[in-house]
């Protein structure tokens, strides 16, 4: 039998103590494990993700503007952008991580790639020596240059043991204009600095401002792993970038270029301050061109906004400026007289006037006027055709006298608002549209004088004492051109939002409105057009507006500019508004010249008259546009002397013009 080994109490105690101690340590480990994995599990997972992953922001593209390429029948409809976002790169540096000895070589490389002015180089040098961890040194670098710089930097950083992220590149999109200053005032642009909190562009005006909410996008984000050994998890998309909606305009870029070119030529010849033109489809209200000179070069917008004189060239004057229309308003007055005729006919009464009625126009005395109204030349008798041809003030004032005697001033005044929409916005899709102003009976001016006096109707008849914007005038002429149907000007064909997977969602699409209101009767429009055709023919005020090979109808006007609250005798706004071809017109076109030089052309007249300054520009824009649109000449013999196609006997309106010349001689000699 072996003897049991006896274990001392001290050994036993030591054994138990050690066991308990180990057990205690093990418990601590379990507790720590529980604390880290269970209680603080989320926190450490997040920390781990931060350390191993980083989120890369994917920039979005702001919505684009497209030209109207479906304007020509039979033409391939390819999307033509007027504005687009082009990818560029911003270069950032971490100055504290670039050693002093490397700052100069890096700068030297950057300057060798980019041709920077001296001030910019000095600024970059200062940035390299700042005490900060991130500094943008170059903005809007092209991709090719960015790639070249990045490739050089990677090698340089490796060779010189500099952290690679001491220089990094951020992708961004820059607003770019392939057609440069075309449609500058209408489109406008965005500022180079973005809103820091939302990373959105700040528009400077125009359509960029009007549609800003739709053009905005939303940046996306991607999860990237720091370790390059795990490319499987590279580029996991958290959210896709949401690009802004694209806006398809009614404006055609070619027609716009024609209008801008002719305006520029005309303004330089007339030594004017500026000019603008609107071209509209009279049936659909689509604005085909909205041109203005001097141009607004949106790529150098800061040059304009830092100079008060240049800043006015950034405004769309055709919409934002209201002016006295003067003689171009006379067809509107006559249209109101035709409405009065229709009222009388409804009551079974004889009309207020007829087109062929012989009306005495030798005396211009009207109630309330201290001085008589005068015509450009004295005419003894005129009918409507002659009155428009000669632009007689007395004729239209006499008709208005009959209207207010029959229907009262309230009825007459309401026609401006209700029939033609003067004093109301056209709701064209541009900011800051001028309402214009129509005097109201009983209402007072801020200076206490009554807006409407006894003489007011006679001023209104000839386009004075009323303020309109050019878009309202074009709309009114559009109603006459389309034979009396309501028409509302618009710049937008459709708005489309494209998702990341290429699906299009149409947010808005202009539809043909078959329920349009009839504003004027067909007969009254026919007679007005008949009269307006004489304006551009022999004996008319705007012979220079005759579009060779085509028929046209229109009216010229000249108004004194109001400077410091008074009419100026030296500064004028000259205009011509018309449409072509006269029957079934393709467009209504209004041209306004701001402050043409005061001169005289023998055989034609004063250069500041609308028929001499604005009408030739109308003619050229009209001719080139009709040719571009493929409209067949409807006056194939109406060419000037010397042209082989000319046949004065067969030319359109040849007989009518001769008849009216004979009639004028008969009545006025």
């Amino acid at each position: 039998m072996s003897k049991k080994k006896h274990i001392d109490f001290s050994d036993r105690f030591r054994l138990v103590s050690l066991s308990f101690f180990n057990f205690f340590l093990f418990c601590l480990l379990i507790i720590q494990f529980y604390k880290l994995q269970i209680i603080e599990g989320e926190k450490w997972t997040k920390e781990g993700q931060i350390q191993h992953h980083h989120v890369v922001i994917e920039p979005f593209m702001r919505g684009r503007f497209f030209s109207n390429t479906s304007i020509k029948k039979g033409h391939l409809e390819i999307d033509q952008p007027l504005v687009m976002d082009v990818p560029k790169f911003h270069v950032y540096i971490d100055p504290e991580n670039i050693p002093l000895k490397d700052k100069d070589p890096v700068q030297k490389k950057i300057f060798s790639l980019l041709y920077l002015p001296k001030e910019k180089k000095e600024k970059v040098n200062k940035d390299f020596h700042r005490k900060c961890r991130s500094r943008k040194i170059i903005s809007w670098l092209d991709k090719d240059l960015a790639d070249e710089l990045r490739a050089w930097w990677m090698n340089y950083a490796l060779e010189n043991k500099i952290p690679k992220n001491a220089m990094f590149f951020i992708k961004d999109y820059k607003r770019s204009y392939p057609f440069k200053s075309l449609l500058g005032q209408v489109l406008h642009t965005v500022r180079e600095e973005k809103e820091s909190n939302e990373d959105q562009n700040c528009p400077t005006g125009g359509l960029e401002l009007y549609f800003n909410e739709l053009l905005k996008g939303k940046a996306g984000s991607k999860l990237m792993m720091h370790s390059p050994r795990h490319p499987l998890d590279a580029g996991k998309v958290i959210s896709y970038p949401e690009n802004g909606a694209d806006v398809y305009l009614t404006i055609n870029h070619y027609l716009q270029a024609i209008a801008e070119e002719e305006l520029e030529k005309g303004v330089k010849e007339l030594k004017a301050k500026g000019a603008w033109a609107i071209m509209m489809d009279p049936y659909t209200g689509e604005i085909l061109a909205l041109a203005q000179y001097p141009f607004f070069d949106v790529t150098n917008y800061s040059k304009y906004f830092n100079d008060p004189e240049k800043m006015e060239h950034t405004r769309v004057k055709a919409v934002m400026d209201a002016f006295e229309p003067a003689s171009i308003f006379k067809p509107i007055t006559l249209a109101i007289c035709y409405k009065a005729n229709e009222e009388r006919e409804r009551k079974g009464l004889s009309p207020i006037f007829t087109r062929d009625e012989k009306i005495a126009t030798d005396k211009g005395f009207f109630p309330g006027r201290p001085f008589p109204l005068k015509d450009g030349r004295k005419h003894n008798f005129l009918n409507m055709d002659l009155a428009i041809q000669k632009s007689s003030n007395i004729y239209v004032a006499k008709l208005v006298n009959r209207v207010i005697n029959e229907f009262g001033v309230e009825w007459y005044k309401n026609q401006f608002h209700e029939v033609f929409g003067f004093g109301k916005k056209t709701n064209i899709e541009l900011p800051s549209e001028a309402l214009g102003s129509v005097p109201t009976p009983g209402k007072k001016h801020p200076n206490g004088k009554l807006e409407w006096s006894l003489a007011t109707p006679y001023s209104l008849a000839i386009g004075h004492n009323i303020l309109v914007n050019s878009m309202q005038m074009v709309r009114a002429f559009g109603i006459i051109a389309n034979r009396g149907m309501e028409v509302n000007p618009t710049l937008i064909k459709k708005i489309v939002k494209r998702s990341y997977d290429g699906l299009d969602k149409i947010i808005y699409e202009k539809k043909n409105n078959d329920n349009k209101k009839r504003i004027l009767s067909i007969r009254s429009c026919d007679e007005l057009i008949h009269a307006m055709k004489f304006t551009t023919k022999l004996g008319g005020t705007a012979r220079l507006g005759d579009i060779m090979g085509y028929t046209e109808a229109g009216k010229s006007g000249t108004s004194e500019k109001i400077i410091d609250g008074k009419y100026s005798r030296d500064h004028y706004l000259s205009s011509f508004v018309g449409f072509a071809p006269a029957n079934n017109p393709r467009f209504v076109l209004m041209v306004v010249i701001d402050d043409p030089v005061k001169d005289y052309i023998p055989g034609y007249g004063k250069t500041y008259h609308g028929g001499v300054s604005a009408a030739p520009i109308f003619r050229e824009i009209g001719r080139r546009s009709l040719q571009y649109l493929g409209v067949a000449p409807d006056d194939p013999f109406g060419y000037p002397y010397g042209d082989a196609r000319r046949n004065p006997k067969k030319a359109d309106w040849a007989n009518e013009v001769q008849d009216i010349i004979n009639l004028y001689k008969k009545w006025n000699q």
Binding site: G74, V86, K143, K180, L182, Y254, A257, E261, G630, A632
Partner: protein
């Protein structure tokens, strides 16, 4: 006894082959997963290049530029066609033998 070992051996071999095939497939998928981000990057680079080319084409096709070109002597013969000179054929009809849709330009119905 030998038969039992043989059967076990065959089972293990079968499982092994299946396992091998599965891992092979997973390897192929992994290769594709590694290639995909590179392809996506290449595609996006090509798209960006495409956009840049479109932009440069638009710069050339600037209407102001075209208006200048039209005035040059070598292009003076060019003119815009009239609407009634443009023949529009409905899509798909040109391939049909029935030629009633193809008439002289003036007689054709322009869409």
């Amino acid at each position: 006894m030998i038969g039992r070992f043989f059967k076990i051996g065959i089972c293990i071999a079968t499982v092994g082959v299946c396992f091998y095939l599965y891992i092979e497939q997973q390897n192929e998928l992994t290769k594709l997963k590694i290639k995909l981000p590179k392809l996506v990057k290449e595609v996006s680079q090509i798209e960006e290049k495409n956009k840049k080319l479109h932009y440069e084409i638009d710069l050339f096709e600037n209407p102001n530029n075209l208006l200048e070109l039209v005035r040059m002597p070598e292009y003076l013969y060019l003119r815009h066609p009239l609407v009634n000179e443009v023949l529009s054929i409905p899509e798909g009809m040109a391939l049909k033998e029935n030629t009633k849709y193809i008439t002289t330009p003036i007689e054709s119905k322009v869409q």
